[in-house]
Assembly symmetry: C2
Homo-oligomer: 723 residues x 2
Amino acid sequence: MYKIILVYLLLATQIVIGQQQQMTLEDAVLGRSTYLKPETLKDLVWKNDRVYTWEEKGAIRAEDAKNDVKSTLLTIEDANAILKHEADNQLRSFSGYSWTENEELLLQHGGRYYALDIEDKKVVWNISIPAEAENAKLNEQGKFIAYAIGDDLYVSFADGKQVRITSDGGNGIVNGKSVHRNEFGISNGIFASPKGNYIAFYRMDESMVTDYPVVDFMTRVAKHTPVKYPMAGMNSHHVTVGIFNLASGKTHFLNTGEPLERYFTNISWSPDEKSIFIAELNREQDHMMLNRYDVASGEKVQTLFEEQHDAYVEPLHPLLFSKVNNEEFYYLSRRDGWFHIYKYSVSGELKAQLTKGEWETARIIGFSENEKYLFIEAHKESPLELHIYRVETKSGKIEKLTDVEGVHKGILSTNGSYVIDRFSAPEIPLQTGLISANGKTRRTLHVADNPLKNHQLGENRLVPVLSADGKTELAGRLILPVNFDPAKKYPVIVYVYGGPHSQLVDKSWLNGANWWQYYMASKGYIAFTMDNRGTNNRGRAFESSVHRQLGVLETDDQMKGIEYLRSLSYVDAERIGVHGWSYGGFMTLNMMLRHPGVFKVGVAGGPVVDWSMYEIMYGERYMDRPQENPEGYRETNMLNRVENLEGDLMLIHGVQDDVVVMQHSMQFLRECVKQEKQVDFFVYPTHPHNVRGKDRVHLMEKVSRYFIEKLKKEHEAAEAAMK
Amino acid sequence: MYKIILVYLLLATQIVIGQQQQMTLEDAVLGRSTYLKPETLKDLVWKNDRVYTWEEKGAIRAEDAKNDVKSTLLTIEDANAILKHEADNQLRSFSGYSWTENEELLLQHGGRYYALDIEDKKVVWNISIPAEAENAKLNEQGKFIAYAIGDDLYVSFADGKQVRITSDGGNGIVNGKSVHRNEFGISNGIFASPKGNYIAFYRMDESMVTDYPVVDFMTRVAKHTPVKYPMAGMNSHHVTVGIFNLASGKTHFLNTGEPLERYFTNISWSPDEKSIFIAELNREQDHMMLNRYDVASGEKVQTLFEEQHDAYVEPLHPLLFSKVNNEEFYYLSRRDGWFHIYKYSVSGELKAQLTKGEWETARIIGFSENEKYLFIEAHKESPLELHIYRVETKSGKIEKLTDVEGVHKGILSTNGSYVIDRFSAPEIPLQTGLISANGKTRRTLHVADNPLKNHQLGENRLVPVLSADGKTELAGRLILPVNFDPAKKYPVIVYVYGGPHSQLVDKSWLNGANWWQYYMASKGYIAFTMDNRGTNNRGRAFESSVHRQLGVLETDDQMKGIEYLRSLSYVDAERIGVHGWSYGGFMTLNMMLRHPGVFKVGVAGGPVVDWSMYEIMYGERYMDRPQENPEGYRETNMLNRVENLEGDLMLIHGVQDDVVVMQHSMQFLRECVKQEKQVDFFVYPTHPHNVRGKDRVHLMEKVSRYFIEKLKKEHEAAEAAMK
């Protein structure tokens, strides 16, 4: 009895101590992805249609989905024994492992890729690539790895052979790398064919694109390290698609013809390797043609279909070929205003629109056996939620497989018999469940402990805010200060992004909060964030309403959020600050300069200042060319609003920023100086567009200090002293 | 009676209003050189040995020094009538006018130089040069102007002829411009011979010098505009001296031979144009040879004398040839530890040391008739004063011509019969007097009104501070706050420079105060400045004591100033800030990082951070090469002291700075971020090493705000909030 009471007291004490723990900047910035990250089954993948595996304490563990039997497949020691690795070159974790179609364990270690037969304990095959290889893509079927070195493309085989595919790289020619600046869903430049007989690749000629000067200041003498940076309205690069035939060792190019300034997106192979499909977009980005090329001749065979829109067309998803009929594929298009699934024949015949309605399909996860169903992730319940559904391919009938209100992501077993459901919800850090394809078997596999259970967090509420046009209920997130007292008045920090493809508020853990907002809440600030028009998951009309006038409607909506804040009795309307980075930096400037006096303080990181100095693809999609939309560029150019600057504003820029280039901040500062406006500035040398890693703590401390100092009530006294 | 009282009252009121006027930043920064500049006789020059002239209300006025008769020589209307200038191309002022030996009026207007006979009202000759000409040098004797266009040298004549002298300019070859980065007294690259038959010029090959990347951010796409910037220890440029013979139109080069890395300083022509003298310095800068070259052959004839020193030799003055004996010249050397005048024969025979003693000669103004006397400016009374003396050439006997304690500068009449004495003193803004060569006639020509008579200024005191080695009484300047109350405690701002060749405290007007210090005094701050070891006018030992360890003794001395401040009952020792630019930025860092905790706030503008990233000539003179002095470079590298940073520090840098390059600040910031030290930063785009013009008001407002904000007593509360 005595013992039990003691334990109880200890627990109680711990809880009290625990709840007193405040969110530090280290917690907020570094902890979230490391020591405060919710635990889960690490590197969870399906080995086959029944068994999934994960890494646990240096071993690969497995569970049979059907009979719930767990086992250890392989330990690190086992793996090192098979690999015969020396003491100084030991594999230390299975991080990033996967399974081949033959259920061989695929590992990568020290520039070498291994396929292991874990039954026979032997290396089935291995491929090694040079240390300087980038963008390596493994093809299991052909047992090769294609990769880039510098600006050329190479391939290495399991038998040790290496072939150089291109040799014209350099001086503005780039082979085998992502083109179009990672726009249009492109993040890769190497596309091996399904059976491994060909390698398609991008060849980009950017010799006609302007050099932008970036300086590396960390060398003995600072070094000019220019990047190719095409600005809106200027020359764009020219892209072609090469096909390397592994059998013949020869390369030929698709005859994509003119105009040369076009975007070749979503490269897809037909299962028989005879055709390549490309979603080709004109430079104006308002007209997409889905073209089919004959691989053998390189000639265009057919335009399957076209999509056009006054604002823009943005193809983001490659074709997904049917498993049961090689002559059919699924395509995710926003043509009716919402991302939905269409079924096509390879000759371009529309077979069916599988999903429909005023909601967005996010992703096709895969097929059930015999393709009776498609598994998808969609925002059908609400733009703030993501659920897993199965869609009957014949009828389009849709069934929700996941239940808990939140954000679910699926991992499908190899033949679609099971889907692993990984989800979080406002009160659920991370949970993993198993769902059978028919939805009948459901099992919880893992529930993460709350890593913030010992932290004292401000209350986090979702608040609805009506958009400025009165049409949409937008989502706001309000975090109240720790030890909130409704009788007091608190300063507010608005954290904003607001650009296309973004969503900061949803029903994931903590309503998607940026933990820095909890840090500010622990310092006595209300933290507010809202997604305005133009942001993600609410369909095309909502997104493209901002077309040709970025920042205008977005700011109107954000001001509705400010109206809401001002309606709260505990908000000190005289002490509101705003912070954002990149598009959020642009929004920070918009909010301060379009509504002078509302915000006492702003911190704009890596901000776009003038869209004519921004990159061509993103820029022209949303703004058209400067030549075509001079009034839009003028209206959205923050240089023209410097005269409105009131209050304290700090700009921050990464010195190596090659996304929003330094000239944005420099021209803004110059204009401030010219107009005798005081403004603050900081830079992060060695950092590109975002300040990551440990230095991000420094950044957020800088930002926090600025708000704390400038929102102090006493701050005005210092201002007065300057008069 | 009634009227008189009214006037009296009005005056009294004005005085009270006047004394209440506070120094604004505009006053301090722009006013000092414009609307608050002490008035004087503008563009005062001697027309001949008796008559001096000045510009007054659009006319050239003259006075006869002998009989005190004033007259108007020419009005702008007269000049325009002679020049036959059209209405839209009228001369508007005589600014920059001068007199030829023949007493023709020399004017420059719209790229054209005119010599006017004002008696006969005609243009005697004129020369026009292209708009893109730089560095134009007029030669009266030959009636030509030599100038540079781009990297080549040209000459234009009064008859309209233009000759291109060089054509190898570009790609690192530069002709006819200042070389050696304006070190060694060099500010020009064109040296016409005394009779106008030759043009000597520098040719610099800097193709082997590293490019330093400077970026112009104000263009549509930012532009890389690299500069040649040789850093300490790296490759230096190669200089040769060309001679263009105007009669033959041919150029040949002096055979200066090897080593190629040398400094060719103080180019001097012999009066007969047969010889050129060069003070040649080795790259190590510790051995100077005064060499004579034969102009006809280009060969070296003789080394007249050599000067060597363990620390450095720094030749700053060309030869001054005797007017009465072409075989003799005067040379200003610091060889005995102080700048003094030596008389030499052209064959190198030392005839006499004319001045001597523990004081410095600043300048030889010129000769009296028949060269019985040399007129000089020297710091003989005190390093804080400058007076005009005459030195008997035969005996070296020296007589002071000026009396008022202060800083005097002389303008000698053409044959040395009179010297005009322009001077200021702590209580005298600017005064102009006339002194006859024998010192017997003295007359006051002009007394400037005090432009600050309506300003309420803090009390300004010179305070002696003993150097840290106990050997020298250094000069400090203390400015007390406006409405000073000795019973209160005031924060202090130290303004520092501290580098070689500088002197911030002297007995000129207001003790040489930087008016920003008065601005800060008006805001309730004590302003303090002190000249430490290494600074000017105290001889070589005092200056070169800092050799190989810049910043070390300087900081020791500055801390003596801080000790003094702390001894004052009205100083708040907890609130001391420090600000400086360039070497003063370096000193700011030294003071904050070598004595953490002493300074609550610092603002370092364009600071040197690591001497190995500074320029070769200045850098190696004071620090030797990094290879030769690794411990000195380590000891003085501020990157190694970042860990000591306490309090608030802001760095400011001109984006186009090509003197202290941006990489100093960037590497410092990077080190701060790495070591998790908060630091502030600002940049001035478009500005080089110094922020000048109207934008300087913005700069000083930024600096002032930083001190005011960070030295507020409440500031610590905000700091505490971050804990």
